[in-house]
Symmetry: D2
Subunit: 379 residues, 4 copies
Amino acid sequence: MIGGGEGSQIGPAHRLGAGLDGLFEFTAGALDHRPDAGRAYGQTLGLAADRSYGSWQDMLAGESAREDRVDLVTVATPNATHYDITRAFLDAGFHVLCEKPMTMTVGEGEEIVKAAHASGTVCAVNYGYSGYSLVRHMRAMIARGDLGNIRVVNAEFAHGHHADAADADNPRVRWRYDPAQAGVSAQFADCGIHAMHMASFVTGQEVTSLSADIVSCIPSRKLEDDAMVNFRMDGGAVGRLWTSSIAIGRQHGLAIQVFGEKGGLRWSQEQPNQLYYMPLNERLQVIERGEGNLSPEADRTSRVTIGHAEGMPLAFANIYKDLAEVISAKINNTTPDPASDLYPRASDGLRSMAAVQAVAESGASNGVWVDARPPMFRT
Amino acid sequence: MIGGGEGSQIGPAHRLGAGLDGLFEFTAGALDHRPDAGRAYGQTLGLAADRSYGSWQDMLAGESAREDRVDLVTVATPNATHYDITRAFLDAGFHVLCEKPMTMTVGEGEEIVKAAHASGTVCAVNYGYSGYSLVRHMRAMIARGDLGNIRVVNAEFAHGHHADAADADNPRVRWRYDPAQAGVSAQFADCGIHAMHMASFVTGQEVTSLSADIVSCIPSRKLEDDAMVNFRMDGGAVGRLWTSSIAIGRQHGLAIQVFGEKGGLRWSQEQPNQLYYMPLNERLQVIERGEGNLSPEADRTSRVTIGHAEGMPLAFANIYKDLAEVISAKINNTTPDPASDLYPRASDGLRSMAAVQAVAESGASNGVWVDARPPMFRT
Amino acid sequence: MIGGGEGSQIGPAHRLGAGLDGLFEFTAGALDHRPDAGRAYGQTLGLAADRSYGSWQDMLAGESAREDRVDLVTVATPNATHYDITRAFLDAGFHVLCEKPMTMTVGEGEEIVKAAHASGTVCAVNYGYSGYSLVRHMRAMIARGDLGNIRVVNAEFAHGHHADAADADNPRVRWRYDPAQAGVSAQFADCGIHAMHMASFVTGQEVTSLSADIVSCIPSRKLEDDAMVNFRMDGGAVGRLWTSSIAIGRQHGLAIQVFGEKGGLRWSQEQPNQLYYMPLNERLQVIERGEGNLSPEADRTSRVTIGHAEGMPLAFANIYKDLAEVISAKINNTTPDPASDLYPRASDGLRSMAAVQAVAESGASNGVWVDARPPMFRT
Amino acid sequence: MIGGGEGSQIGPAHRLGAGLDGLFEFTAGALDHRPDAGRAYGQTLGLAADRSYGSWQDMLAGESAREDRVDLVTVATPNATHYDITRAFLDAGFHVLCEKPMTMTVGEGEEIVKAAHASGTVCAVNYGYSGYSLVRHMRAMIARGDLGNIRVVNAEFAHGHHADAADADNPRVRWRYDPAQAGVSAQFADCGIHAMHMASFVTGQEVTSLSADIVSCIPSRKLEDDAMVNFRMDGGAVGRLWTSSIAIGRQHGLAIQVFGEKGGLRWSQEQPNQLYYMPLNERLQVIERGEGNLSPEADRTSRVTIGHAEGMPLAFANIYKDLAEVISAKINNTTPDPASDLYPRASDGLRSMAAVQAVAESGASNGVWVDARPPMFRT
């Protein structure tokens, strides 16, 4: 693991997710940009002294030299460093799971996709909500045609945690709305993109073009805290996506509804163990995580019996479980379980970067429709 | 009552709403465009033979000649006739409650507003969902500043009752998507406009401009069955409004969320007896219809004790209760209870017509932002 | 109407329910035990001077003498007077709808049942919650065997409106827990009995025996404010019934769950437009009031289209609608629609009285099982 | 770990819970009653060959002889063996976490309590639902007086997974209702006891006496599949507890409501991240897991940020987290964090056994009230 030092929020989440099934062991890390602090903290967490590195460069050198090099490198550093680190490890033949955003620009994103392809390594990006068992089941239902052609996807990621104007200058909040630190987009890049990835993930369609209406409800903010994005997908679906950080009364707010010719589906991250399904001209049904006869994709990502809640850490662990299967297949030269080959990948990270760019561009131009695809995917 | 003959759905709803409190008695009508059928059906419903008219023109003549003329004329005829009938009765000094849409064009809408003003009569338009007790309370809370300045309003009216492609040629459904019969808009004009009226009603702000993304998910339809409308209001609020008739799994789907500087509110027509309120930095609270210490506007429109559901017919009746108070005040030359002066009026009907026009115009031009105000309100 | 004078809560509810469909007109009344007040208030409400009576005895005499005597007498006076008034009007051949409790003793209840039988009149008792459309549908589903044999009924009526010890001496609350005024039971007689009636109504089974655990959570109370009642029914069902007035956080709290061999049902008065149905080994389904292909019993008691809430006043009106049909059939010597013959009747009032008595008796004896049937139904 | 061999459901759950925070490492086990199978499976899971034992007796001998003996022994074997194994390890000075039921008789339970006391070891019993963060918060709120004296606790554990009569002879189901295998109680002992433990846990009161109404809805069953238990607690609270395995439509069904003088609380295991709180005379509030300013007990058992669901495996892990803290304090001779000293202990296992016995006894005698305390706690 690179990053995730003392006091980090995402570091423990990764270690929890990676270790939960016992499929990965935490054996090496460069946890802090301050070499001494990183080395010391790594040892507190049980790393051997010679694998608790002072910098990612040291770790790259050290692990490259070992026969028992790590199977997977998790990159959980500040956003601006993702590209360099991910690129370097991929080029050295390591498999990488990079936190989102994968890069700061579309161009860098294309470089990563090419690098992963060239090295034949796995490069995953952590859109972790796609690991939920019932999200996997939505994808499976849609893929097998339960809903027919998809007409409309309505996705949301709206919370209220940045609604307090009195708190807007708090550094913990302010940087997110500062272009110098956050890039071209705040709330869409931070949260909305998860909803857009989910729309793609469950429908199996990619976003082609979009129109965005962005606003800063707290006037001192230079980047948006509320955005509405309309989009079109390559399989014909129409998308509506609302994201907000000023929606007081909502805690997390990631939710998705999919409407096809033959039925509708509805799911919310805050109550992830139920999926609401309405077949055309029938009654609303409640699908429970863990019920019998779901899809292989759902079964593989479900751990406890029906009626017991599973939550976000287990969804996160499912991404690691996918990676364990896929990397293990690469190592052993076998075919991975297709139900595991669903981790978000570098191309998702690249597409997301292009969508963020497109939202910023459209938002700055009265919502003009723009191409949301990265250049290399525009055929 | 004009219209609402045998087999009509809206006729009984009006008679139920009007009669529920015993404030109006049903004494005259021209219920059918077929004179004999209308006269006969009126008598079945208890009208005197000489006040069960064969046509609205006869009723206008007959009632105008009486000393005990009706206090209020309800117009529940096909949309295309609303303007002529409403106009004629207003000009003759009758108070009118017209079904929505009030007119077919913005120009006609302006004529109605002027006619009502000139004659000093009450001209109401039936945006009946604004009659719910907790909708009235939302308006009161916002008006007294509980939420501070309003930042974002998110309104929906999305159902799935026209999602079946196999049913699209059913005449009962088809006419709604046929420009010759329905005008320039289908789903927005039919349902979305209720959500937009509610956004205005609860915030006390008017829509100034909008951008619409409209689609026909069933390709044979010439008018939209799904639309996303972004808008701006004259008090600074930003609006997002989604309306759909292909959202399988949703029964009615009118819902509204309002986010201000100091709190958020959430309400849904399908569970109208609860209002979810989140003051900034506090916990989500559930406001119950009928609880103590609500606003006068809520108390006046609440009939049974807390915990007993009240539904749509009572909301509808509240519009009639408003009208009874206001008309009675006119007759008796007194001041009506200000908490009753909230019925939707001709200006709302006009603004709605302008919004429908704007949605059609923007939707046809890639979502370009257009002025959504009627010319006479553009200062 | 007898009782329901100025300031009464139940009086307007009856007039609303009776008048809502236009099937009954309010034409005569003795609204107050103070003759002048009653006569004056009746005239304010539009009664003719000669039919706004000073006492129920005057009304009995006056109406008996008229050819156009009232079709139905509603008794909404204090509980202790129900027996005398109901008995007198039944004996004179009037149809009666009596508020609950029908009588103060089981013996009186048997007298009423006999009197109604002897005179051939309709004697209804107002267990108004049985009028909800989806409650009617539960009954229809169970009657036609959708659930198979019923195993367990779990009913609740638990609210928190008498939980405040500081308010216990408020006269508005105190009388309910005073045996001199309320009889042998407080919370069970006031609320629990509605849940028990509903258990009988939906299953079509009668309670035969019961065991009660009663407590007074506020020690100054001589009667119970919380009770748990286990019971057995004549079709083999087992019952659990909890009622409370100290359950802070619940507003109304009437709810029922029924479990049979082939499925389960769940309904709550606070959200009366949804019925949750789980067929054995299938998924939970949501039945919506107003959906297509429900039972005739449900359709007859549903007024507005699916997705629009209907509430308690319309349930109440359904009881009057039943009575209109049944009384009109008696007058015209026709057969009433069987779907309307579901109003709660004198035998229900009697059985309820016996259950109240049994709860008090068992509760006073450590929950010993007692016969809950009135003597005349013990065969 | 003893038990939890290949194909076991509870084994992986324990390994997941124990390992989740990295506080325990899985280092020794006797996983199967078939020595070879157990040894082999242990090695598959990564145990060293010399610590993957063929029997619990071997493990007791082996670990007792080591300096680096295991810190905690988890007993997850069939119920009838719990006493012998737990007793033996306690006597040898090991800390033990035993699956429920701790023993098969009250007498054995008393022996365990005494043995743990004599050896000074930790003996925990896995009432794992008490590990949820918001359950811990309920306990803290009640302990600090937010609800005042507790009046009524209403607990449920009702599911429908054994409702199918056609499945009653399936061996996987049948043994639970067979006294020879399951003891004196089925559904209460299996599920109801979790609800009763939770009632004690959150109120801080112990059950003193109870009355039970038990039935077998599927007649071939010798033990109950539905039970209603009324009880009294030593702090004055009244309890109502319903448990069922024939409640079709409910998936898990553990839920609790607590009503005190000053407020009410409501929580359900299926939606464990929300706690509903109603202070007397105020509005219902939603407490979210992870929100600021909760109790230390809640904070300590919360891992991810507000709005992200946490589920059962994390609740389970919290029990292990408690044990890690308490055992580590014993080893290091320090004082454990009082917020961690909440794991269910041998005395809970003993009290539960006495309650199961009392339910069987009362249920067999028409619900007579019986003492529910183990003899050693009756003073």
